[in-house]
Structures are given as structure tokens and as C-alpha cells.
Symmetry: D2
Subunit: 291 residues, 4 copies
């Protein structure tokens, strides 16, 4: 069997964006080096059009003489000087995903496997569904399951309950893993850049309902899946990841639905991994993804 | 150097579509076998939704005791019985492409190379452009070049001239190889299923002008190209072939334009090959492509 | 939620291979049409090099006036005349997979989901492992689990027991879903064209142990997975399906192992689907796959 | 037509590798910022296994108060302190490619188009061939063409002449664009990391002659192409770029040869672009490619 190395060392990940100017990298790297910080990953992006700068620095926790809180305190001066939007995360505190599902469970199987196999660092805080059918499978994995029925009339109240559960379980990211209800604007607004959805088309093609039917009708030769952050406008939020697979004239809508699952699960999983590893920075309605 | 075999044997290619029912393949294969016809390729598609049947049969010419004209004459009975739309082509008469270009020449370089290298069986009857800049390159290859200027006012007359040249040079298929003018409805209507365009996006996303700019603005993670038959509605005709390549936040519009050329040329070339090898059958606004 | 149509109609699938000559399709299609057989899928392949012909015909069971046994009886004459290797399967009797696993469970999760979601028609007769760790998960799905320990000394005896279990549970295909033991020659020889393995490299690169380590050392820019039939020579049997994903200098062996799982599970699942749908015909050490 | 922006601003590109330790990025970025250097692209890679660090920094030339020579002079102190292997290139001096071809011209067509279309910054210093057949096409583009015949006996002398021409025309990189002769060890040794080859297989599969024949015989489901630096061992040098396309049982060797050209040309062109944009750093027999 393939041996999968020693546990990864504890790291702090600093991500930031600010107006671009001379000296940002020098200041950040100088600060870290001044405290002995050993950088294991470093990515930068300067967006010429908007004049904005983005960076992600991963530092070995043990190389610094202080903890995350002190790192944040000391870095604040530099952050102020460059008007940075920034955050520091700690690999010892993996992000907690709250997963929403309906009846289709291919993404759920996939996420539960990745969580169990430590495919990347994240926890599943709980699973919430508008149906009760997947309770047994989720609870078998030792993960709490909540059934929040959604009717034509109770959308706002039901999703207020979803949001309450998310907070009660200290969610860091909400994952719509083929959840077939539309979140009300209040929930979208409460968690900007924190709700990941998998849409079963190559956006911006085939927004909305039954995208495989739309794809079949148009006669496209590739079908796709898109992982994006949820915003108040349906299927229009910042795109994190996309992929496609080939279909042909012999494939019915039902077959497209089945083949599409293979990219839905991998695209959602990649998007969630990027998010949980702090690889995604928002830039208006677009994303920087430091892979 | 790789030896690329003996010249392919002469073949007749029969393509047909008709309402599906029991006995079509038996009738077609029985007819061919009754005359000693040796089938080297055979593809079938039954479309359950529409109840329509499609087939493509490639027969060795030498295995039949008669020529194409007699084959057509004798097959007519079966065709009538099953209400077939059908045609028979002869590999000894490769299709003649009339290629339209503007200033960008990546598809033109590619098509000229494929023609010269006998990548697949087709001839380039002539090249027509609304500019005169590519004359030297085309004429160096021994291919006639026509400059038909198109202004804001003369679109109909100019394209009537294009159509006249197409017919004078006995075109079988018109190839818009990054031709940046819109064909008037009369030309589209005159050549249904005979005009191939390469659109520089993954249709139906980003119809119309400047698709790479649209893709950049939307922040997609893959860009595409689409080869489709031209119909009167812009970028809405039957899709023949599509492909995509990955881009990321670091790619400017200019870079997308450059990277996109790589899929534009291969997608157009594949679409043209499928057309010239009689692999494409129309089915409403969709295509059957027997690859 | 996406509605996934009515249950598919019952079909018989006839697959055959024989020396190529004039009249095979005519005879087969004529036979079927003569009994009113409605063909819903039909694929053919003539291999020019070897002079061998292959076909797969899917017929609606209800369109024929007899059952599978009678179909087989009546077809035997034609089969004899053309010296065919042939078989007829019935969609009402889905193939029974016996799945072998070790400790890694990504392919197992994937196969169990596909079985539960009826992704394609197959049953999981039982799961056999050289470890006992996955018992709970498998049994939760209501599938029998057998622990057959394999030591350095008992390989032949242990796998004789595996073969006995396969037969006891009426297996049609054995699936090595990241099973990390090598089957003894006697088992390979007992089930030719019936054992599918997933190898975690793009064969023929990186045969044998630790292929991701080999890939890392060589510095390849894509890693792959290969689904193949098991033969007595290690990793050298007929290839059914392959795929690749991109890696770069930043990816460690551990990350390659993780990313590779995504293609291992889809490639194995596609290979198994092709097998269970009778899409794969053997031709020496190669496969015809009628997708 | 798509407008492809203003000409890119002049830049200096600093690439370096050295043993990893705390403070490298701080020193480099601090040096550049201290002189007002505006960084437009910045990529870093720390190789944990070997303890080696790699970086590529692209700086606007106009943001510095001195030219390339002075930049080199001043940076030498830092380079010494960290024991760096390093170089600085100037976008005003695009790399000069010397292209070697035999009879197949698909890569040549592609490279000439990219040069003419300014697809990326490079010049073609001259084309050298062991045949005289492509002279006209190359000279039409205004590029010098040299015919250096290679026989069974004169390999060393002929390639000494090739090397002389490379130097006379001030080549920066030698590109084997389907050149079908093997370079003698003396030439390989003279230009380490400066000779790019396109091999028509997915290395390490199918080393040596007739890789498509080998692929056909093995029955692989994808064929590939590999761009690598030439070393003295055949097809074993550091890999820069690879890609694959799908084939199936219906594809003959001849068709694989034809389809393979599409990836050969794009893979070679991508490899050359990475090289000319100083994106490739060597690390033993592997490459870091900062895309």
C-alpha cells in the first residue's frame, strides 16, 4: 500500500489583498523573516487592470517565536500601512463545513470519503437536509444530521433554522452539495464568500433549473460543472472551479445526468479544498485561486 | 520518419436518416451484401426521443460491380421504401472547401498545413478575404485568393460576390476561419448545413462579439471554442465540435486570446474533417457526429 | 431534483467477433429483423490489420417473439456459418461484481454509491478483503463481506478461497478496487477477461509497485490511471480505459496519491460499466470498447 | 477583430535557485523594493525533499533607476550570500530559437505562425534541416534556411556544423521540431538545458523509434506528446510539458500519427514559450515550470 507520509507540520497561512505598490512583498517577507519565519508556500498575483495585489504565504508555525494571536497583533501595523484586507489561519484548526443535501447523494458520499480519508484538512460539522433519507448513512459516519423540511411557504423560516444550525455548529463554510432549494437573500447576505455551491453546468451556460436538459436541447458536445460562491443572484456568484466531460449524440439526458455526477463531485471537492486551504481570494465577482 | 501507409482504398460513403422502424439495417446491409459490398466502417444511431434513425456506411468501391451513379440508382428503391434522406459520396472526389478569413491567420496556417500534409481528404478551392493581407501566403501555396472588401454599406453585395465565387469554384463547404463579418441571411439560407464557423467561446456561453472579454469579465476557469454550422440566428446553429482549455486569474484577455487560438484551430479542423468525411448528419438544430 | 426517466426497457445484447467477410451485418440484421427485432444500439468494428470483425447489437426484448434461450438457439446457425465467438446477455440479469479491496476505500465508496444510485446496471455480490477494516461500511449497505487474510506464505490458498467465494456468490466479474495483493496465476487463468484491475499509473509507464513515486522521480507533468483485465503478466493485460490529470513541480508524492484517487475511481467505474454493459470485446491483448 | 492591447512594457526577469533558508524572499524583494522595483509577476517554489528554493521575479524595467547590467552588478552580493544560481533576462532581447526539422512540417508551420503572430516573445534565428524540402516555405517568411545533410557516417561532422550555425546565428535555444536524427553526445553536452525536443509519446512510455506503433500495439486509450530538454540519454532528459488525446480501437497507426500532430505542435509550442519566458528552472533531471 502507498505510504502517505508523516503528518504535515503545523502552519499559519496569511492571505491578503491591497492596492498594488512597490514594497508589499518586501514588507511582508521582511516581517516574517525578521521573526525567523520559514515560508513553505508563497503565491502572489498583481492584477494590472484593477491595480490590486494578492498574496498567500504559508509559514511553519514552529519557526515563529509566537502563536497565531501574537502574529496577528504584530502584523497589524503592516496591514494598516498598506490598507490590506487580510487574515491568518492555523492548520491546527481545520475549517468546519456544514453540508446541505437533498436526495442526490453522490457529492455527499464523496465528501464523507474525503473527510474520512483526510484527503485535505477539513471537518464536517453537520449535515442538513430538506429530506430525512440520508440520515442513516451520515450518522453511520458519526456526523450529526438535521432534517429541516422546506415547503413552498416556509423557505425563509426553514433557512433561518439552517443558518442557526450553521452557527450553533460553528460552521466556517456552508457547502451546497446538490441541495435543490434556493437560499433566501438573507442567508446569502449573512455569509458572503462562505457558501459554496455546485451547479451542474458550465456556467454561464444553462443557469437555473434542469441544466442537463438545456444542454441536451442545445446539442453541446461537452457538459460541465461549476463550483461557485453563492450570491443573491442565482448562479451568478464568483466561480471557484469548473470542469467538463465529453458527451455525444448517443447520450440521453439521463446519461448526461449520470456522467455529470463524476465532474460535479470532483469540481465541488476541489473548490472546497481550495477554500479550506485558504487558496481562494475574492476580487469583486471573480476569484484568485492560488493552486 | 514515421511511414504513413499506402494510399487509402477508394470508398463510397452512404449516409442516411429516416423514421426508425424494424428492418432498416437489414435492408441496407442486405442490399450492399447482395452486390458483394465490403463494409469497412459502419455506424448507427437510433434517437429514441424523436424516433429517427441515422446511419453511415463506408464501402470499398472495388467490392461493388458498379460505380457511384449505378449505386445511387439501385439504392433509390430502398430509400423510397423507408422515406430516407440520403446521399452517397465518393472518396475519389474530396470535398472542396472555400475558406473565408479576415486578418487573423492561425486557422488559415493550420488548414493550409493539413491540406498540404493530406491530414484528411479535402481540397481548398480558394481563399476569400475582406482584406488583402494574406494573399502572398495563400498564393505561395498555389491556391487562388480573392479580396472582397466589405464595408458598412455593401454587406449584401459583397457577400453575393462571395457566394458567386463559391459557386464558380465549385465549393462543397464554406469555412469561416475567423472571418469577422456576419453573413447576410440570403447566404446562410443558400447553403444550409454547408457553412462551418469557428466561434471563439464555448457556446452557448458568450454569443456575439468579444467572447474572450466576456469570459474574462465573468471569471470562468475554462475557455472554449465551438465549430458549428451557420444558420440565420447568430452563433445559434447546430454544434459540430467543441473543446476547452484551462485559464486562471493570472491570464489577461490578451493571453486568453492567444491561448484560445490553440483550440480554435483544432476544433475547426476537427469539425471540417468530420464534415468532409461525411461523419456529420443534421437532426433539427443538433448534429449526429459518427467519429 | 432531476427526474431520471422511466426504467429502461428490457434488452438483449448480442456481441460477437469473427473473421471479416461480406454479409455479416446483413445476416445478423436480417435474422433480427426477420423476427421483428427492434435494434436500439448497434456498433461495428472491422479491424483491417487482422481481418477480424466485431459487433454489438442491443435489441428490445419485447420486440422478439421468444426469450433469450430461444434467441440463442436460433442464432446458432448463423454463428456457425461465420465461425463467430458470440454471446447474448439479458438486461434483466445484471452482472454480479465481486469486489476485492485492501485498506484504501475510495474506489469502494465510489462503487457502492454507483450501485445504490443505479448509475449503471450491476450488482455487488460480495466484497472480499485481506483486512477486516471495511466490514462495517460494506455491511451497512447490506452487502456480504469476507475477510480472507493473505500472508507471505498462504497466497495460493487464500486466493483459492477468494475464487471459491467468487463462485459461491455467482460472480460474473471480479473487480480489484485497489486490492494490493497479486493474484496467483491459477486465479488469473481461471477467469480470463473477467478480472478488472485499476492500476494507479498511465500504463505502460510505471508498472508494478509505487507508481506515484516513480512518476514523481521522473518528473512527469500528468499522472494517470489504467483499468485493465488481469493476465498472468503483471500490469500487462488488455487495457479497457485510461485517464490522466495534470500535476506540477509543487505536488509531492503524497499529493499525487491523493489527486490520483479522483481518476482511479472514475476510470475503474467506467471500465466496469463498459464491461457490465457488454461494451468490451477482447482482441488478443487489446480491447474493442463500443462506447 | 479582437484587439490585442498595447505592446507589453519592458521587463527584467530574475530567476534563481539556492539552498532554502529563512530570508531569501525578504532579501530579494527588499533589494528590488529598495530601488523602487515594481514586481508584476512573482513565483516561488520550495522543494521540501531536496531543501532547495526557486523563484522567478518579473520587474518593470522603467521602475528601476538602472539597466540590466547594473541590476546584475548590484544583485551579485545577495546572490553570493545565498549561494544562488541565477540569471536576469531582458524582455527587449527576446530569445533566439534555432529550429531543426526533417520532413514533417506541422511543428514548423506552427512555430512560424506563432513567431509571425507574436504569440509570445521569441525570434527564429534560422532553420536547419537534413533535407532541403522546406527551404521555400521558410525563406518565404524571410528566415535563413540551411541544409545540412546527415548520412550514416557523418553524424558527428554534420552536427558539429549544426552547432557552428547555432553559434554563428547567436542561438539561445535549439528546438528539435520533429528532427529525426539523434544528436551526438558532444552537441548535447555543449548545450545543457538549451535543447528542446518534442517526443511523440507520453514519456516514459514508448521511448525511441516509432512510438505510435508501440502505442497501437499496446492498445492504449490515450496517446501523448512530451517536450523535454535533450540530455545524452535518449528521451530521458527533464520533462517540460506533456499532453494527451484520446484514441480508440478504431484508430489505425496512421490516424494516431495524424491526431498526434495536434498535441505535438501545442506541447512543443508551450514548452518553448515557457523556456523563452524564463519560466523553466532545472532541478536535477526535473523541471520547475512557473506557469
Amino acid at each position: 500500500m502507498t505510504a502517505v507520509g508523516a503528518p504535515a507540520a503545523r502552519t499559519f497561512t496569511l492571505t491578503l489583498s491591497c492596492p498594488d505598490r512597490v514594497g508589499i512583498v518586501a514588507a511582508v517577507a521582511g516581517f516574517l523573516a525578521g521573526h525567523g519565519g520559514w515560508i513553505v508556500e508563497s503565491s502572489n498575483h498583481a492584477d494590472a487592470g484593477s491595480g490590486w495585489f494578492f498574496t498567500r504565504q504559508v509559514v511553519l508555525a514552529d519557526s515563529l517565536p509566537f502563536d497565531r494571536a501574537e502574529l496577528v497583533r504584530r502584523f497589524a501595523d503592516i496591514a494598516d500601512r498598506f490598507a490590506m484586507q487580510w487574515q491568518v489561519s492555523d492548520s491546527a484548526e481545520p475549517k468546519r463545513a456544514v453540508v446541505l443535501v437533498s436526495l442526490q447523494d453522490h457529492c455527499l458520499y464523496d465528501l464523507l470519503h474525503r473527510w474520512k480519508a483526510r484527503d485535505f484538512a477539513f471537518d464536517i460539522a453537520c449535515v442538513i437536509s430538506n429530506h430525512d433519507t440520508l440520515r442513516g448513512f451520515v450518522e453511520w459516519h458519526g456526523i450529526p444530521y438535521f432534517h429541516v423540511p422546506v415547503t413552498a411557504d416556509n423557505g425563509e423560516a426553514a433557512h433561518a433554522e439552517v443558518l442557526r444550525l450553521y452557527r450553533e455548529h460553528r460552521g466556517d463554510v456552508m457547502v451546497l452539495a446538490r441541495y435543490m432549494r434556493i437560499l433566501p437573500p438573507a442567508v446569502c447576505a449573512a455569509l458572503p464568500g462562505r457558501i459554496l455551491n455546485i451547479h451542474h453546468s458550465f456556467l454561464p451556460s444553462f443557469v437555473g433549473a434542469r441544466p442537463y436538459h438545456q444542454a441536451y436541447e442545445r446539442g453541446v458536445k461537452l457538459i460541465g460543472a461549476t463550483c461557485h460562491y453563492v450570491s443573491e443572484e442565482l448562479d451568478a456568484g464568483p466561480i471557484v472551479e469548473q470542469d467538463v466531460i465529453r458527451v455525444d449524440h448517443g447520450d440521453s439526458v439521463e446519461e448526461m445526468v449520470k456522467y455529470g455526477r463524476d465532474i460535479e463531485r470532483t469540481v465541488l471537492a476541489r473548490g472546497l479544498r481550495y477554500h479550506c486551504e485558504d487558496r481562494v481570494l475574492l476580487h469583486g465577482n471573480k476569484t484568485i485561486v492560488f493552486r
